[in-house]
Symmetry: C2
Subunit: 202 residues, 2 copies
């Protein structure tokens, strides 16, 4: 019999708290997130939480820096960094955006938290702004590389276009979240795909 009862593992405990914190914040927002529910979900006690984090705020910051930033890296930055053709990669990423009930209803974790906390807490705002900037910068770099390779039209400004893409993408997710209608998000994916194809050198 191996590992009948959970052994002590601080690294695992920390990750459980981050995961549960992320889900709870995603569901209720940071202000609405209940530490008690986070502890229940993580199957961890309050003592463990306050051993690993100084405060609810510190846990929230860590969720941004470690969980939300990682999701963005995995979905956007890494695929773009390795892409041969930036437009193909961007279209693939956009098309991979989930239309599931839960995801449409929940919206974008990054934007959710940014909208809630940016005016209220500079610590959150700055961390979330760093993620947005890294996202836009990654798209801009990919577009610029595409221009040099003759794959992307040179008439556009990479960073300006990256910002447009992110804004439109987040805007559609927001509308879909409120209407709870995946067809709106589907329309957004179609539009973004058409726009990306229009950037190709033909």
């Amino acid at each position: 019999m191996l590992e009948a009862k959970a052994k002590r593992n601080p690294q695992l405990t920390r990750e459980r708290l981050l995961g549960a914190g992320f889900l709870e914040i995603y569901h209720s927002g940071y202000q609405g997130a209940d530490l008690g529910k986070i502890l229940l979900r993580a199957e961890v006690t309050k003592g463990a939480l306050y051993h690993h984090f100084d405060s609810k705020e510190a846990l929230g910051y860590a969720v941004v820096d470690e969980v939300i930033a990682k999701v963005t890296r995995d979905k956007w930055l890494d695929p773009l960094a390795q892409a041969a053709d930036p437009l193909v990669a961007l279209i693939r990423i956009v098309q991979a955006t989930s239309l599931s009930e839960a995801d449409v209803r929940g919206g974008c974790p990054l934007n959710n938290l940014a909208q809630e906390m940016s005016p209220l807490d500079e610590g959150f705002r700055a961390r979330l702004a760093a993620v947005f900037l890294a996202w836009r910068t990654a798209i801009a770099h990919a577009l610029k590389a595409g221009q040099k390779q003759g794959l992307v039209q040179t008439g556009i400004d990479p960073m300006d276009t990256a910002t447009l893409l992110v804004a439109t993408y987040e805007g559609y997710i927001s509308l879909a979240k409120n209407s709870q209608d995946p067809r709106i998000l589907q329309a957004g994916k179609r539009h973004l795909t058409r726009y990306l194809e229009s950037l190709r050198v033909s």
Copy 2:
């Protein structure tokens, strides 16, 4: 001496509560909105609040139905309904979007509340979705009228285009709010204006 001390005026009290509630919700979100602060801002006591509204939720609903919906009507629906040229009207409205510190920091009251409450409270979600739908519908109607007058290209679907405009508009406001950089919103206004001009029959 006329009206030395504030006389009793239920209509005014109600409006003060709606106004203060709107501002407090705009600042802190619905969940974070403190009834005590709303009462201080409105210069009204708790008895008055619970005379006019059954609960915090009822006040929130009224803020959506009466304040937020009215702001949208005044800024978008009415100008569009009276416009001779929809594209001119839309560009004028977009250009009129405030770049002030406070407005950039605060974002869009409609979208703020929609992002916060849509997954949590069906009453809020449905009311806010009605405002979004009215907004998009007004733009679509104006575009369709413009098509019939030969002012707008017939190749586009009015409702689809209206949704794109709203999504992009809200997306830029969200990014500007998080970055606290009015230049992002300025870029959004430029882009939307260019896009609207591209819809014109030339």
